[in-house]
């Protein structure tokens, strides 16, 4: 059967070129990057080169980027670290209601430890209002954390405005850029951001590798303590293969950036329009312009997301309903609640995220398969019957 993967925001395949760069570091160039002998120094050298490849793309100094085990660790480190470092200055944190759980759950834990957290509302398209950020600031505010691109509905947040407000008030600003890397140009020499989280597996790099950008001058206690790796800031034998793969992935992403974005946006629009045309009672979530280039997020009234996913899966199509992390529990997604959707419609959400291996044929296939699936499920649904009866 035809296989159509449309869950690139959950994870991406490692590109062949990336894998090829990684392979020598498993078996031949396996030396411990903290060791003094040649193979160790070589590993260290190539790891530092990888770091520089990435920071060149992000326009920051290599000393400002620390490798982690992924986006979640980066988020945890940034938020817990700033909370700890700046506890004596205040106990207030500002975030939004649509952050990834790696941000939200950390904030909730901090609340239990005596922090006050403001979870900002977003508008119907998922935008955080910079004015609301400013209004939430108190003399206790030590950290603002608002994501760059929402992983579920694809909305691009106004982080420049938010960062400028943070700067004006001398508050540390963190942004989770896990979905932004490779999908937006990121220029840290211009962005008013102090900490930024990244993950390799969202840009065709390996899983289990990420990074945290920490602007020079920002004090951040360690999350994982031990050996002197990462200039004493993140302990643990360095995952050199993973780091080299991450660098190659970032290189590929930005070497072909315009092409990638253009292609994705064209396909994304065709898919959204196609679904709206062929399936009634369909609602697009998020903003149509300020949007992740590969994100299609729709809600189909009267039916439930998992049954859509299962039906799609039977046709070889991989999608998600809400964030990949939460789809295990299938609670109505906190993001969809935050944009004001009712439970009935939020439960019928479908996220299809496209990427570099998506083809026009894939779009056609989904446009062909999805309408009858939705129709079949609706005909089984008591809600549909009620609604149609009431018309």
């Amino acid at each position: 059967m035809r296989q159509v993967y449309m869950d690139y925001s959950a994870t991406t395949p490692v590109k062949e070129e990336v894998l090829q760069e990684m392979i020598p570091y498993f078996t031949e160039k396996f030396g411990n990057a903290s060791s003094i002998y040649s193979t160790g120094r070589q590993a260290k050298h190539e790891m530092d080169a990888a770091r520089k490849r990435i920071t060149d793309r992000l326009h920051c100094a290599p000393e400002e980027l620390y490798f982690t085990s992924g986006g979640s660790e980066a988020d945890n480190w940034a938020i817990k670290g700033i909370a700890k470092a700046r506890r004596s200055k205040g106990n207030h944190i500002i975030t939004s209601k649509i952050e990834h759980h790696a941000v939200l759950h950390v904030c909730e834990t901090l609340e239990k430890e005596g922090f006050d957290v403001t979870y900002l509302d977003v508008d119907a398209k998922g935008f955080v209002d910079p004015k609301a950020v400013e209004a939430a600031i108190t003399d206790q505010t030590i950290l603002i954390t608002v994501m760059y691109i929402n992983n579920e509905i694809g909305t691009i947040e106004p982080i420049v405005e938010i960062g400028e407000i943070a700067r004006k008030h001398q508050i540390v600003f963190h942004t989770d850029a896990v979905q932004a890397l490779g999908n937006l140009p990121i220029d840290l020499s211009q962005l008013p951001v102090d900490l930024m989280s990244f993950s390799a597996h969202k840009v065709y790099g390996p899983k289990g590798v990420g990074a945290l950008y920490v602007r020079k001058g920002i004090r951040l206690p360690n999350l994982i303590e031990g050996g002197a790796q990462e200039r004493r800031r993140r302990a643990g034998t360095e995952n050199v293969a993973g780091i080299v793969g991450f660098a190659k992935a970032v290189d590929l992403a930005y070497d072909h950036f315009d092409e990638h974005v253009e292609r994705l946006i064209a396909m994304r629009e065709r898919l959204i329009e196609g679904l709206l045309d062929s399936i009634p009672d369909t609602r697009v979530s998020g903003d149509r312009k300020q949007r992740h280039p590969g994100n299609v997020h729709v809600c189909f009234k009267y039916i439930e997301g998992e049954s859509i996913l299962l039906s799609l899966d039977m046709m070889g199509i991989a999608g998600s309903s809400g964030s990949a992390c939460t789809s295990g529990s299938l609670d109505p997604s906190h993001v969809l609640m935050a944009i004001g959707l009712g439970h009935d419609i939020a439960h019928g959400s479908l996220r299809l995220t496209i990427g570099d291996f998506t083809t026009e044929d894939d779009i056609d296939y989904v446009l062909e398969q999805l309408p009858p699936i939705i129709d079949r499920l609706r005909r089984m649904s008591p809600l549909y019957e009620q609604a149609k009866g009431a018309e």
């Binding site: 299938l330 109505p332 649904s381 809600l383």
Partner: protein, 159 residues
């Protein structure tokens, strides 16, 4: 016990079969009994219609379900199990039987089998009320109780 072990499927073949080709989907006009349980908030609603004859035999049964794959499959198999049975026998249906008949459900989905049991009970409750019947099995049953079955389940966890 756990039929999923050693498989990479979330659901058994039986669940997938009943999800893909659900039996007894639909409505019954002027049904002797009709019951609905669940709510939109939890993401599952099951409605069951019963055609019950004078001998208290379930002559026909139909369902409509808003919910996940296992909710649809559980509804379908529950209707298959009780169709043709007496009301008294149908009241013996437990969620465990539904799970077993489906060849197992993942722990987080067990609540769907509870819903199926409850939807059937609610439909019979409706019938009993309408036709002045009493069944000891329905004692204490409240079709509008609306428990959040999820709570119970979360503890089991998923591996």
């Amino acid at each position: 016990m756990n039929k999923r072990k050693g498989q990479n499927k979330m659901y058994t073949e039986i669940v997938m079969d009943h999800f893909t080709n659900p039996r007894n989907v639909g409505e019954i006009e002027n049904a002797e009994g009709m019951g609905e349980v669940g709510n939109v908030k939890c993401g599952d609603i099951m409605r069951i219609y019963l055609r019950i004859n004078a001998d208290e035999i379930i002559e026909d049964i139909k369902f409509k379900t808003f919910g996940c794959g296992s909710a649809i499959a559980a509804s379908s198999i529950a209707t298959v199990i009780v169709k043709g049975k007496s009301v008294k026998d149908a009241l013996q249906l437990t969620n465990k039987q539904v799970v077993d008949a489906l060849g197992g459900l993942p722990p987080v989905k067990v609540h769907c089998s509870v819903l199926a049991e409850q939807a059937l009970k609610a439909a019979i409750y409706d019938y009993a009320k309408k036709f002045g019947k009493e069944y000891p099995e329905l004692e204490g049953f409240d079709p509008d109780a609306d428990d959040d079955h999820h709570d119970l389940i979360e503890e089991i966890g998923e591996f």
